[in-house]
Amino acid sequence: MNSSWPWTGVLRSLVELRSSEALLTQYVAVVAGVRHALDDWIPASHFQAFCELMAQHGLSVKADCVFKPLVNDSTLEGKNLAPTTQAAGLPFPEGMDDSPRTRVHVIVSSRTDWAEETLAAAWYPVFVDRRIVRKPLVDHRRLGIAFGYPDCCVDFFIKHNDWPRFNTLADAARASTRLRWETNCLLKHSPWSTLFHMPCSFDCQATIDYSRKLLSALKEWDVGYTKHIQASLQQSFLVISERLAYVLIDATVKDEARAVYNKALFVGAAAEHDSYGEVLSQGNELEVSDGVVFIYNNGKLIHTVETHCDQGIAEVPLLLNFE
């Protein structure tokens, strides 16, 4: 895979074993005690090596179950109930194979009791046979607490994590008086994030403290990486929903509704959700009004993006400029 950064040491090993550069800072957070535990999806073929690496650093690993891609999924009921990941679940270790898309859902922690507590609440919605298996909502709260996320953010997430009805990012923005870069969660699917939780506001002090402690610990590992993270988080973003957001490169935000930009890069989890990257790339200015993103090229209107709240996800377009 192409690297975004010259990884070294254990960070490099994590990238290679996981075939992913995301979530690295959260491993640092677990080692440094900033959070209690994390969950991740490890390629089955590297699971043993991953466990050995974790053990070398005093970390405990608990396996939950095996994830495999869905097959014949066009008529599966309940796909809308697992909007971020859609996979088939199998027991561990029976479901393991060497296929590159087979992954083990694991919990990692510096303490066995934290790992067990997190495992109990960490079930992720998957299809078993042809039924989607979900946990009750109260377990999401238990998981957030087990991870060690700020209580205020966990409570906020529980109330707002209902994609058809709520837009968590818009609600967090509404609860904010400032947009602090330490609370920027929009890059969580990239290596350049201090957060994996959704903050209750973009000036949540508990989240700010979390980010600062994490970066302080990370400096011991890679100073350059720390600086790059901060620079990445201090940018402007066009946000439509949790899975549809863009960072605006070299942007000047004129007011809360207009921005001039050089480039727009998709920052969501899955490339298949990048609906507007192409049209944004044809423009250099955008305006948000009445749930529409108007895209201009040198003053001429060239595209309109009409966002929706009636199609399963509450889309609320916003310009967020993190200071």
Binding site: E77, G78, E116, P136, L137, V138, R141, I145, D310, E315
Partner: protein
């Protein structure tokens, strides 16, 4: 069987009329409710003013409009936005735009019977504006973000202007082909009509707002297929199709709208058979809408939800009969399951009758009750938790593939830990007195983190009815919290459903609170 006999089995015209009347009532009801609940956004979007105009129009205009997919499209979106609370939570996103879009609908209603009146339509980047119920389309040559079209009816002539430019179009409402446009800014086009069915991929509400040029390419590619499909219909098929279908479009992102047949981008369905099947689906959808039946409350062993299965199978089976083909054995098997399930549901016989099915009843199996009322509301009120709606469990059967119903548990997940503390299963009286009591007790224990106690109550529930996935799944999750993963896996992955195989454990102390691990 002759085609005429097939069509005689259901009353198409009656369904259409009832559906359209119901749509008009839905519109008026929902608008009254909207204006009462969110007057600010109605004001801000000029919706209030536009609705006042509607109230001044002759009554038959609204009933004619109810027959057109454009109003159905607007109402469908409006009801969806209302359902998810978008007008209250995010009024300045799609909701305000949608209310502004009502001005487009209103403009499309202006016809020869309209009085002298005027209005404004925000452009909001659109290029295509339906006129005369979609018979003609006004196309702006340039995209504009914030401009507004001003329209005025005077002496049965519709005049449309843009500020700073002036009149861009004039249409004689008594003879729509007598029109005039300012060619530098716009033109009028007429979507083709064949046997009363319009082919329209341009109107944004139908084709999606992909820009006029992209729509034109789609149109040029698919119009010949549309013409060919219509030409191949027999007389009876044509009558059936035109009784329901007003317009055909192509938009993979569009849900069902009555009277609007939506075909795939590939054009595969643009055959006579494809068209008929889509119209059959439309008929079934309408029947489901006007029949007071709640199919969300029932489950059956079918690949998709019961409602979706009814629509899909009705359409396939009827189309096969119309074209003299065999229905597949698989489809027939699934249909029998669906039919049995519907017959066990309130108003199920009526639904099947509307769909032209024989309903002789009698020997059909009666399914156990699929929904139980949970006596939690009083318990919560005694704990000082008010405004809790009636709580019910929709039982998911082991053999179905539906997601389990966590509705009750999830509705209580927002309570604070302090509020959880106040609830006790003792307030149910005897928690083991009945299935619903036992499930309520199980819910309380799960919320409070008393997983061993929760297990005891769930085992009691399973003794009453072991064919309930909610009981099994909740039991499985208690095993996770008790560190007994093998038992979780037996239930979830190996689908163990034998009550005797789940051994009873000694009760732990009551009220043992934890973060979730025993």
């Amino acid at each position: 069987m002759k085609e005429s006999d097939i069509f005689a089995r259901f009353n198409c015209l009656s369904v259409v009329i009832r559906y359209e009347r119901f749509l008009a009532i839905r519109l008026i009801d929902s608008v009254q409710s909207l204006q009462a609940q969110t007057p600010d956004v109605c004001e801000q979007s000029d919706f209030r003013e536009n609705w006042l105009l509607v109230e001044q129009l002759p009554a038959d205009i609204l009933f004619q409009a109810a027959a057109q997919p454009l109003l159905g499209s607007w109402l469908r979106t409006h009801e969806a936005l209302t359902r998810v609370g978008a007008y209250v939570r995010y009024p300045n996103a799609q909701p305000v735009r949608h209310l502004k879009d009502f001005a487009r609908i209103l403009l499309s209603w202006i016809g020869s019977s309209a009085p002298n009146t005027e209005g404004l339509v925000p452009v909001m980047g659109r290029q295509v504006f339906p006129l005369l119920s979609g018979k003609r389309l006004l196309v702006l040559k340039e995209r504009m973000a914030s401009a507004k079209l001003l329209w005025r009816v005077k002496n049965r002539v519709l005049n449309i202007t843009l500020p700073r430019i002036g009149t861009i179009a004039e249409v004689d409402l008594t003879d729509p082909h007598r029109s005039d446009t300012l060619d530098s800014h716009c033109f009028l086009m007429t979507p083709p009509v064949r046997d009363g069915i319009r082919f329209d991929v341009f109107t944004p509400e139908f084709g999606g707002d992909c820009g006029y040029e992209s729509s034109l390419k789609k149109f040029e590619r698919l119009q010949p297929l549309f013409e060919n499909a219509i030409a191949q219909l027999s007389t009876g098929q044509q009558q059936f199709v035109t009784s329901l279908c007003r317009c055909v479009t192509v938009n993979s992102n569009l849900g069902w709208i009555a009277g609007l047949i939506n075909l795939s981008e590939s054009g595969e369905e643009l055959t006579a058979e494809g068209l008929v099947e889509q119209v059959c689906r439309d008929f079934a959808q309408r029947v489901l809408k006007i029949t007071p039946i709640d199919l969300s409350a029932v489950t059956a062993d079918v690949p998709e939800g019961v409602g979706q299965a009814v629509i899909r199978l009705f359409a396939r089976r009827l189309t096969a009969r119309i074209f003299g083909k065999e229905v597949s054995a698989g489809d027939e098997r699934i249909w029998e399951r669906v039919r049995s399930t519907i017959l066990s549901t309130k108003h199920g016989e009526r639904l099947l009758g509307e769909l032209g099915e024989e309903v002789s009843g009698g020997s059909l199996p009666v399914h156990p009750s699929g929904r139980i009322v949970l006596p939690l509301t009083n318990v919560l009120q005694r704990a000082g938790i008010e405004n809790v709606p009636p709580l019910t469990l929709r039982k998911t059967r082991v053999n179905s593939n539906s997601a389990v119903d966590w509705g009750v548990l999830d509705s209580l997940a927002f309570l604070s830990p302090l509020e959880f503390e106040k609830i006790s299963e003792k307030d149910l009286g005897n928690p083991n007195a009945g299935e619903s009591n036992a499930y309520c007790a199980a819910i309380i224990c799960y919320l409070q983190g008393r997983f061993r106690d929760c297990q005891q109550y769930l085992l009691t529930c399973l003794e009453f009815d072991c064919d309930v996935e909610e009981y099994w799944h909740l039991l499985a999750f208690t095993f996770r919290y008790l560190g007994e993963m093998p038992d979780f896996e037996r239930i979830i992955f190996m689908r163990e459903r034998t009550v005797s195989s789940v051994s009873r454990r000694p009760k732990l102390d009551q009220h043992q609170m934890s973060s979730g691990v025993a």
